[in-house]
Symmetry: C2
Subunit: 218 residues, 2 copies
Amino acid sequence: MPRKPRIVKRSGDQTAQEEPAPGSAKRHQIMQGALAVFLEYGYKGTSMDRVAEEAGVSKQTIYSHFEDKEHLFHELVEYLSGSLFPEQQDHTKLFELEPEAFLIRVSQLFFEQMDRWEYKSFFRVVVAESGRFPELAQLYVKRAVEPGLAVLVAYFEKHPELRLQDPEVIARIFRGSLASFALVQDILQGKRLVPMSRERYISGLVETVLISYQRKPD
Amino acid sequence: MPRKPRIVKRSGDQTAQEEPAPGSAKRHQIMQGALAVFLEYGYKGTSMDRVAEEAGVSKQTIYSHFEDKEHLFHELVEYLSGSLFPEQQDHTKLFELEPEAFLIRVSQLFFEQMDRWEYKSFFRVVVAESGRFPELAQLYVKRAVEPGLAVLVAYFEKHPELRLQDPEVIARIFRGSLASFALVQDILQGKRLVPMSRERYISGLVETVLISYQRKPD
DNA sequence: GTCTATACCGAGATAGAC
DNA sequence: GTCTATCTCGGTATAGAC
């Protein structure tokens, strides 16, 4: 668990000399602390005291920047949605790959993303609160799921030689297979119970999707 | 927020003299209340007061049957794992279906299960607490995921004519695709953002898996 | 705007009567 | 074993000094 930008509280007089740009700096500082605590303990498990401690500010400072805990959580989720899934960089290099290499690369990128603890924790929180905060779940779908599907669909549609009947469905199958694998193996700790290497899974998945393409016409 | 009227229904025999046994009526009554509250509000969001109210017993009665909140939660998850995913009934009828019908039926059964609110809520809680209660997540994998995979693998291995290179991987792809679809569409409320019918998805998924089988040799 | 201190409530858990 | 009443702690949010 990497983290802990703790600020040691100073006793006695404090000549606030090192304060750079009071307003948004403090706000960002609070967000960082909130990020660490919310992602680790979930919404209900997070206390404002803990956030204040983690951010190195007083509780009242938090309440001077955010209306209440729920608003803080909302802003954090929006911030994370933009931070964890940045706007699509150009996929020109990716699109130049041939089908098999493309799908393998996409899979690797997916798992690289999934291996970040922020991502796993964020996913847990989003799923956990998807009943009470549906709009946050939808934001996740919009920022984390849709863009990945769009890339796959775009590639598939530019490669009719793959002979894919329904590119949108295939894209979901591909992305969904990767996501479920990561969910069961990593998030739900299924590695020990039903171990399987990512390489084997990716290989089988790519082969399944491309089977019409790879099959040599007799 | 209106709430359900609390009725304590006692069946005839209630000796109520011996120590609480695993099968006692009160114990079951508490579990039912705990089930409703934990599934709706999650672990941290559930208070023992609320459970007592929902179960129609006093709080102390809960503590006479369960050591503390965490133990109650543990027992509840074990109970739910056995209740929501009962021991495999014989799949003889299922196994008699031909490949396409078999996979379609399996998909339908999966979604029928997913449509129960207990299942969705249970999934949310399991994912939410998978970091703090890893053994519960593994129990879920063991009871909810593995059996489904086993059925698919068994079928695939009895049908070599399907020409599936790696039945275990294909089983995971199939089951994982279904799970991700339900996750995005239903749990994460993606229906409105990226709508797609289950029929279209199942159709494409079955077709993809069986493509080697269905392709007529030229 | 930021701090310390505090109000107020609900949480988990327990005591003691019956 | 079950209840009512209560303890103690930690939760969100606010007051008032600077």
